[in-house]
Assembly symmetry: C2
DNA sequence: TTTACGAATGAACGTTCGTTAGTAAAGTTC
DNA sequence: GAACTTTACTAACGAACGTTCATTCGTAAA
């Protein structure tokens, strides 16, 4: 059997290509070469280049939204929620750094209607975090600094992991989760 | 005099284009349109597309390196140095968000030898900060967490400002400098 | 042996790309 | 006002792009 292997292979190669060269600089001819096909043969498996980017970005975005819902439904403590988000960000950046990079850096090359869908998902995700942070300040658990600064600083603190995590590097995931979360929450906690 | 007015105009338009669409998706034809020239006329002022990106990225990188040297030669206190770096990052992100974005997101499309030059400058800049942070931990001024985590978290904390700073937004620069620096250094200080 | 079908192919389409060549006008210097 | 430089133009180049098309291959069921 072993069906569907080729389609998956194409998606993985595309994600790697998009990460390394960027979406626009990645050609279907190069992608075909990486999966040992002729360019035209790609279209037996996928419908077009844009679909590749959309699947990667929207898939990743949905994962974040779902995780966020799950965390918030299971837990009510602001600091514990932020801790879990932090752990999740570190985990995804380490486990699938390729998709994480594409999601983070290449989404702007999405076309409508995918771009709109992506923005909605991201907005949904971010507004939940903003709400948590605002609540944290109200409850006196977080410092009383501009909530936009707290929110943005919190989220951008994870933006180096997937870039820094080169293939050869050995990483202790739990240590990294603990250290990053420690530094970030130290900055936010009252 | 007022020489080079057109050249400057081309560079500014190029930076804006690179930021909005990315380097690869920015065409010389579009750039020409933005400065009211025919595409070929651009080459009366610049030598090629790559040079535009190189000037922007390398110019920005040199600015950071020079500022870093200046800060470190004037000051010896670790926390004060980090504070000044933080203030400088916020300032550049607000004053020239376009160049800051291109520098941060599009450098990977540099070709040799510009790519090598860029990496050297960035390495020079980053190693100075790493040294400061390592010293800070040794001196007991910063927390005793993995120095890579401290370094990367510190630097990535500025990566949202130039993206968030939309044209219409009113920003109180000094307040932002104070707040961001406060949050970051709270996380790092012992 | 025939029928059916997904997978893969080579060739080609129309478009866009960065860039060059050649040239004419405008500005500057003597 | 002649000589020279700078700026801008039209036209075109070769290369690469994403994608389509008709066709062939390989396999497995009928």
């Amino acid at each position: 059997m072993a069906i569907g292997g080729k389609k998956k292979e194409i998606y993985l190669a595309a994600a790697r290509l998009f990460r390394d060269k960027g979406y626009q600089a990645s050609s279907m001819r190069q992608l075909a070469k990486e999966v040992n096909l002729e360019p035209s043969s790609l279209y037996s498996h996928i419908s077009n280049k844009q679909e590749l980017l959309a699947q990667i970005c929207l898939g990743e975005a949905e994962m974040y939204v779902n995780k966020m819902k799950s965390i918030m439904s299971e837990c009510d403590d602001v600091l514990e929620i932020l801790r879990q988000i932090s752990y999740f960000h570190v985990e995804t950046a380490l486990d699938d750094p390729i998709s994480a990079t594409v999601f983070s850096d290449e989404w702007k090359h999405l076309e409508e209607p995918n771009l709109g869908r992506f923005r909605n998902l991201r907005k949904e995700y971010e507004s939940k975090i903003r709400y948590i942070i605002a609540r944290g300040t109200e409850e006196g658990r977080l410092i009383d600094t501009d909530s936009m600064v707290l929110f943005q600083t919190f989220l951008s603190s994870f933006k180096w992991i997937y870039l820094w995590n080169k293939p050869g590097r050995e990483v202790d995931k739990e240590a990294l989760q603990r250290d990053i979360t420690h530094v970030i929450l130290r900055g936010l906690k009252k």
